[in-house]
Symmetry: C2
Subunit: 322 residues, 2 copies
């Protein structure tokens, strides 16, 4: 199995689904702004997890494409609004939505993606009871994403953040949407609540592992692969799990929150201090352990090609090095 081929196969359907289910209608410019980011592509990991989950429980993945599109639109909605809030002007190598259409345009494009996601999900041709469960789960998930983003913004203004708080933020901001993708796929594929709940845990745990790994990657990946300054989280004073571990163990980091330009030697020094304090290993170990716990959840499923691909997606999400 070539994972990239498997992802590509599915993303073609998702791309087509976006075109059909979110057509450029009237007022045209609003729909152009709404489609701008979804059209920029990407690996469509969340839709893939959703479709594979359907397949892994014995359902027809082609019948859940609208739900996969809905998940992808929710993901894009959060990116559009987050970029306004975080003043991030570049996304996927392009000017952010609010740079092209102003904040008003980006707020409305995000709101449109949000409502379209629920519209698309609610008119699917599936049993109303199952769809309604998915609507309830997806709306709860959106609320949690808002909570996670609020915590993330709040952490920047605070002196101390505990590991527990960090993990709660990461769970809500990133991982619940992976959980929802897996569970929606399972529910629409006809799985029992018990199996669907295990699938949720799979997505949630893998999502947490993925996010912790992101912090590690920022430290240990050469800049030419990373595509940005190594240690940028540290320099910006971001409270990653590594930074929290270090601060809790009295490690002094000269460059933490320093901003501006920091020499490669200073970064090397900081990284070796964090290696010495065991902070990087701590995060790496927690990421690996969480990944294993997540993958274990799939034990509820019988063997299948889809299950194998799901396990490979999980590994890929965490072992990628950029």
């Amino acid at each position: 199995m070539d994972l990239m081929d498997e992802l590509k196969k599915r993303s073609v359907y998702v791309d087509k689904g976006i075109e059909e289910l979110l057509p450029i209608s009237h007022p045209e410019e609003l729909y152009k702004a709404s489609r701008y980011l979804p059209d920029a592509g990407g690996k469509r990991l969340r839709p893939a997890v959703l479709m594979l989950s359907t397949e892994a429980v014995g359902g027809d993945p082609m019948s859940v494409i609208p739900a996969a599109v809905a998940l992808e639109l929710v993901h894009n909605f959060t990116l559009v609004h987050d970029d306004i809030m975080d003043n991030d002007d570049v996304r996927r190598g392009m000017p952010a939505v609010h740079v092209k259409w102003g904040s008003e345009g980006a707020i409305l494009a995000g709101d449109t993606l949000y409502s379209k996601a629920f519209e698309i999900l609610s008119v699917m041709e599936k049993d109303p009871g199952s769809i309604l469960k998915c609507v309830a789960l997806l709306s709860k998930t959106c609320t949690e994403i808002c909570e996670g983003q609020w915590m993330d913004i709040d952490f920047e203004k605070r002196d101390a953040v505990s590991e527990e708080e960090y993990l709660e933020m990461v769970e809500k901001k990133t991982s619940v949407l992976y959980g929802a993708a897996a569970k929606v796929g399972a529910l629409l594929g006809g799985a029992s609540d018990e199996v669907a709940d295990a699938m949720y845990e799979f997505g949630r745990l893998v999502g947490i592992s993925f996010q912790i790994q992101d912090d590690v990657i920022d430290m240990v990946t050469p800049e030419d692969i990373l595509g940005k300054v190594r240690g940028s989280d540290l320099i910006e004073g971001k409270r990653t799990l590594i930074a929290i571990h270090a601060l809790n163990h009295g490690v002094e980091l000269e460059i933490f929150g320093k901003g501006g330009s920091v020499s490669p030697e200073q970064i090397d020094e900081a990284v070796s201090i964090l290696e010495g304090s065991g902070s990087i290993k701590y995060a790496q170990d927690l990421s690996t352990e969480t990944l294993e716990r997540g993958k274990k959840m799939l034990d509820v499923l019988g063997d299948s090609e889809a299950k194998n691909i799901l396990l490979a997606v999980a590994d890929y999400m965490v072992t990628r090095n950029y």
Copy 2:
């Protein structure tokens, strides 16, 4: 029947519903920001229309309180985001959400209200098929509200706006949510699709009439009742139906879009020009005619106290003078 008493009776349940269904949980400050505007009260016209529609088709209004709360939260979500986009710093006599919590806080508070509305609606104790119809309708309505707000912003940048475009904008920005309130109430009350559709038309037409009347009120109401400068729409160059009619008939209005301070004499002069050109009467007549068409929709219903109150609500919305 005292209409204010009837509205008050229902708003008490809605207020209580908001407290219970959107509790101040964690992170506390996000929920405070989300509750700030809903807690500021108001007449709760949309929830009242929803509950009365349930009652008018023979359902139990107490059983639809969560849906009424969901409608009110959607309405508040649009106010929070609109105020950011329109730079309106005061709402209901208080600082707007974005003034108190910044744009980031207001974007997130709005997003939270949005997802909570769907969460509350989707877990109601009603038949899944009916709830799902309501989810589909409410999400479609939210998309239309985004379209309407986009058009409204766009109109300000344009030289010419047709009457047709204006009416489409008003319909989407304001009236579809009244339509949805009436139809959701009817569906959850067990009405047939035919009756539910007539209820939607009732809400939609009354909503349009209400919005056109708003433009008239700005012209003809004394300032001490209006609570703001008379003719402010004109001074700001807002393309109301009255302004569009006048411009289309070659009427020259010195103060149109002039901004800044305009003397009461100049406003009086503009109003009498608009009376002379028939522009105010044109809007007033269209508002009245649309109201009557809306009320006529309730002919599908048998006589009931709830129906009478709905008719009184419609009259009140349009004949109020501030």
